[in-house]
């Protein structure tokens, strides 16, 4: 589903090229749960952003579901966001002015899903994540773990085929982190959603079935985990 070929990314400053990613080539298939690991500044987040089409690589080819996306226009990219990709952020990035319910509803509105369908999907998500009672609260009235649950519910609302998560548990206590990670595992196993997460924690990485170790912009290791 994702095919990266010789992806390079650098920032030029004062004539010196600062490489973030060098010649990254990898393929991620439907249904995989990939954890990207590595020290700070290794290029993990940049890789995730490139996969999420939030950043463009300086060189290289990127095919998403068989389509070359390096030269995709904004309209097409937004189509992909609406239908295939769900983002989960370390800082949750919920919209402060919207209630829990509205936050989850927003992507469906952009996707122009009918109101009955919307209501049933949101009800289902609220129910699944045990946040029915919180649906009318605003993000700042929730704990970090609860906010991240809403973040994931929002990412799932549009029924994406892939979830991109940038340190989803980075701001959470370990109990909450475990809850989130098991949720990811369950989504991956039961619903076949492809998940790519960036993490620092070896423990979190064990929830997935593949680990990409990155250092200095290069893929050092590509380990398959046997469940």
């Amino acid at each position: 589903m994702i095919q990266l070929t010789n992806i390079e990314k650098y920032y030029a400053s004062k004539g010196v090229k600062n490489y973030v990613l060098r010649l990254v080539t990898t393929t991620i298939n439907q249904g995989e749960f990939v954890s990207v690991m590595g020290p700070s500044g290794a290029g993990k987040s940049t890789l995730l952003n490139i996969i999420g089409m939030l950043e463009e690589p300086t060189y290289g080819n990127y095919h998403f579901m068989g389509e070359d996306v390096t030269s995709l226009n904004e309209r097409k990219r937004i189509e992909l966001y609406r239908n295939h990709i769900g983002f989960v952020f370390q800082a949750y990035h919920l919209i402060d002015e919207m209630t829990v319910y509205e936050n989850i509803e927003a992507p469906l509105l952009y996707k122009k899903v009918g109101s009955a369908e919307r209501a049933s999907r949101i009800a289902d998500l609220l129910d699944r994540f045990n946040i029915v009672a919180k649906k009318d609260l605003f993000p700042n009235q929730l704990s970090g773990g609860q906010q991240q649950l809403v973040g994931i519910a929002r990412a799932l609302a549009a029924q994406p085929s892939i979830i991109l998560a940038d340190e989803p548990t980075g701001n959470l206590q370990s109990a909450q982190a475990e809850e989130i990670m098991s949720l990811f595992k369950k989504l991956n196993e039961e619903e076949g959603i492809t998940i790519i997460q960036v993490t620092h924690s070896e423990k979190n990485a064990q929830y997935g079935n593949r680990i990409l170790h990155i250092a200095d912009g290069l893929i050092k290791e590509d380990i398959k985990i046997q469940a």
Binding site: N49, G52, L54, E55, E74, R75, I78, Y81, R82, F87, F89, H93, L94, I95, D96, E97, M98, E102, E105, A106, P107, L109, Y110, K111, R154, A155, A158
Partner: protein, 792 residues
């Protein structure tokens, strides 16, 4: 989607109370000012446009020939002969109605008499202006010479009811008139207003000059209703031909043309016979002012929105990653600004309703919002959507263009080159406008003061005048004797016009040593009685006043200094002048004094004795008695002569005050709206400073911990804003200077542009801005650094 956007817009407003308050209040003031000025502009624009046929109603204009084939003046007076000529020979003419200019005359129901605006007109006037008859028949209302049409409020004043048909009123204590119609009151914004209308045939009975079809006396107005397909240029060529063929032609003949009657109010200024604008310039100015203030408020909105962009950027980023496209974001931001504008307009209408009575009183208008007219709602709706779009467009397009990853990484650099510079430009623009308004206000004020303090040429104090009516016309000498005996006045005279007014213009004058075969300079004539100079105290340059001791004074004239200049006489006393074919000799020369417009010099004036041309009685009060006593005495004696008439004594100095009215309106409006512009600009500045200090709270905390004093921090925060004001001052002062010098040059008599106005405007603006900025800066600088630092 829309519902959610609306909900979120409201939540955003509630959350950011300071900026919402600034935006709403600023926009509300801007909208209120805009609506108020637009109401006034609509009122002026619709002058004389109430009748169904207003487009086809024309008024006959007269060009007065001047030096060298030029046209010296254009006015709407015509002779009695023009109307019937046009009616008989012009196929395009549907109706013609001659009128007089209208005056105050006495109308009485038994013992209750009132001075009301009266007018004489031919019956076809009723077919041009569709007056709404409450009772009576418009077809026959002006048929009988001894009849009158009353307006609703006149009928109520006289009879206490509008049911006045066939009742009798007494006109000028002379004739009884039967009421043949009662009509609805005329709209305020019409030129031909009256309280009661009488038939032209009655006017012909009263005044022989009216009945006589002549080409000399231009004291009448001719209204014409043309066929709606008539080509006005063609009609005017025909009018010219007709007049040339039928009126005696000489060097002083005055050509006529027809002019759309509704245009006379706003486009009534003519130069060389061609319309060159008029009051419309003031209307343009007000429209500019209205939208200027609204624009300032819109700029506030844009500035606040872009200042908050860092906060909003995150939201934009998230929305883009969950599938929002640019247009849905633009729509969201526009919804927000529309909601805000909508709240502001409700507040604005409330503000408008509260301030309209005061505004009307201040400027002597009567305007209001007509809530039941579709057009006023459409107008308000139009302004709201335009305002919302203008205010919202910049933030909408700017914010929605953010790249999601940059915003989420908080990489949006609020101090980056493009956005801060635009914000600076907007703030500078706002303050430029405000400073120009301050300069304008100061200059207008100085000009009004200058004209007011300019000597009128005689002592206006203790000088009073009253209309010469009824018995006072025939028994003036007796009246004078009694008043002098009673000691209320020290001297008095009668004259054809009031001292503050212009008399009849004429050109039929010859003098010795004239270079041209006929005179082409317009002279002004005043007919008077003895004691002219003695009473009014105009400075005598040579010779003497009219006096009863010289029997020959009946054929003597006094002339103004400018008349002597035209004559070219070195030693004018005793020289001969031929006036209307009669010889007269000059006995005195008086200094030019102010009459008609105080802003320009007047044409040469000739004063002669003619006791038949009555009009106004001017009296100098006796300073030995109290003012009250003098007035009471005059009142008592006048009442004894003229029991049917109310006595109307007016002070000459208040008549002069009246003349400054239009400049005073301009002064009040520029004060008011200049003040509002500055207030709204400062509101925006306050918002920006508040936001900037909120953003820099952490920086300030760190600086304080490092040992910065409150003064250091205030300076840090204020300086960048004050720099913008300084730039605005540099830009605005030359613009203000040039435009006001141009404005001053419109007046023949004008003050100089004083140099101190510029530093005063600059320092004033800087002080206000400094005060606005430092209030917030002080608050921020005084804050406890710990509070600031624990945010992160």
């Amino acid at each position: 989607m829309f519902k959610l956007n609306l909900k979120i817009a409201l939540r955003n407003l509630w959350k950011n109370k300071t900026s919402s308050f600034i935006n709403v209040v600023g926009l509300a003031i801007g909208l209120a000012a805009c609506l108020m000025l637009l109401l006034y502009v609509t009122y002026e624009w619709n002058f004389d446009k109430q009748a169904k046929n207003w487009r086809n109603v024309y008024v006959a204009m007269t060009n007065v020939p001047g030096d060298g084939n030029k046209i010296a003046a254009t006015f709407n007076g015509t002779t009695t002969a023009l109307g019937p000529l046009l009616k008989a020979h012009l196929p395009e003419v549907k109706y013609v109605a001659r009128m007089d200019y209208g005056k105050k005359s006495l109308i009485a129901n038994g013992q209750n008499s009132y001075k009301k605006d009266s007018k004489f007109a031919e019956p076809d006037l009723l077919k041009m202006y569709d007056y709404q008859f409450i009772s009576g028949d418009p077809k026959t209302a002006l048929k009988n010479p001894l009849s009158a049409i009353l307006t609703e409020s006149t009928a109520k004043t006289l009879f206490g009811t509008t049911d006045a048909l066939n009742k009798v009123v007494r006109y000028q204590d002379r004739e009884n008139l039967t009421i043949t119609g009662v009509i609805k009151d005329l709209p305020e914004n019409s030129s031909n207003r009256f309280d009661f209308l009488m038939p032209w045939s009655f006017y012909e009975i009263l005044d022989r000059d009216v009945k006589d079809l002549n080409w000399n006396n231009y004291s009448f107005v001719t209204m014409v209703l043309l066929d709606q397909n008539a080509d006005i240029d063609l009609v005017n060529r025909k009018v010219d031909g007709l007049v040339k063929a039928n009126a005696p032609q000489n060097a002083q003949s005055q050509p006529h043309f027809l002019y759309q009657a509704s245009k006379l109010h706003l486009f009534g200024k003519f130069e060389n016979g061609k319309p060159i604008g008029g009051n419309i310039e003031q209307i343009y100015l007000f429209v500019g002012l209205a939208f200027g203030i609204l624009l300032i408020a819109c700029i506030n909105f844009m500035n606040m929105a872009t200042a908050k962009s860092e906060k909003r950027a995150k939201e934009v980023g998230i929305k883009k990653t969950i599938g929002a496209n640019r247009s849905s974001l633009i729509l969201q931001f526009l919804t927000e600004s529309m909601v805000l504008t909508f709240i502001a307009v409700i507040l604005a209408i409330a503000l408008l309703e509260l301030s309209l009575p005061a505004f009307n009183r201040l400027l002597n208008f009567n305007i209001g919002i007509s809530y039941f007219r579709v057009t006023s709602w459409l107008g308000i709706l139009g302004i709201v959507s335009a305002t919302g779009l203008i205010a919202g467009s910049y933030p909408a397009f700017y914010l929605s263009s953010f790249n999601p990853i940059q915003t989420l990484k908080r990489k949006i650099n609020a101090k980056g080159f493009p956005n801060i510079s635009l914000r600076q430009v907007l703030v500078i623009g706002q303050f430029c406008f405000a400073i120009i308004l301050i300069i304008a206000t100061l200059v207008i004020y100085r000009q009004i003061q200058y004209i007011k303090n300019k000597p009128v040429g005689f002592d206006v104090n203790a000088l009073v005048e009253m209309p010469q009516e009824g018995e006072l016309k025939t028994k003036f000498d007796l009246f004078k004797t009694q008043l002098l005996k009673a000691g209320a006045v020290t001297s008095m005279y009668q004259s054809s016009v009031s001292l503050s007014h212009h008399g009849r213009n004429f050109m039929d004058i010859k003098w010795d040593g004239m270079t041209k075969p006929a005179n082409t300079v317009m002279f002004n004539q005043v007919a008077t009685s003895y004691d002219f100079i003695k009473t009014n105290g105009i400075k005598l340059l040579a010779g003497r006043d009219f006096s009863e001791r010289f029997a020959s004074d009946t054929s003597a004239i006094m002339v103004s200094a400018s008349a002597v200049k035209v004559f070219g006489y070195k030693n004018p006393i005793g020289k001969k002048v031929t006036l209307f074919g009669t010889n007269a000799h000059i006995i005195g020369v008086f200094d030019d004094y102010v009459w008609d417009s105080p802003y320009k010099s007047n044409n040469p004036q000739v004063v002669f004795i003619n006791l038949k041309q009555t009009g106004t009685i001017t009296m100098r009060l006796n300073n030995a008695n109290s003012l009250q006593h003098n007035i009471e005495t005059i009142n008592r004696i006048t009442k004894a002569f003229n029991p049917a008439y109310p006595t109307e004594i007016s002070f000459v100095n208040s008549l002069y005050q009246e003349k400054y009215k239009s400049e005073q309106i301009l002064g009040i409006l520029s004060n008011l709206f200049g003040g509002l512009a500055i207030f709204v600009s400062c509101l925006g500045l306050f918002g920006l400073v508040a936001y900037s200090s909120e953003q820099r709270t952490k920086e300030f905390g760190v600086r304080k911990v490092l040992g910065a004093s409150v003064a250091n921090l205030m300076q840090l925060l204020s300086l960048s804003f004050l720099k913008m004001i300084a730039v605005a001052i540099v830009i605005a002062i030359p613009i203000g200077y040039l435009s006001m010098v141009k404005w001053l040059n419109n007046f023949e008599y004008h003050t100089e542009f004083s140099w101190w106005i510029m530093p005063l405007a600059a320092i004033g603006t800087l002080t206000i801005a400094l005060f606005t900025v430092s209030f917030q800066a002080y608050k921020t600088a005084k804050a406890n650094p710990v509070d600031a630092l624990k945010y992160e």
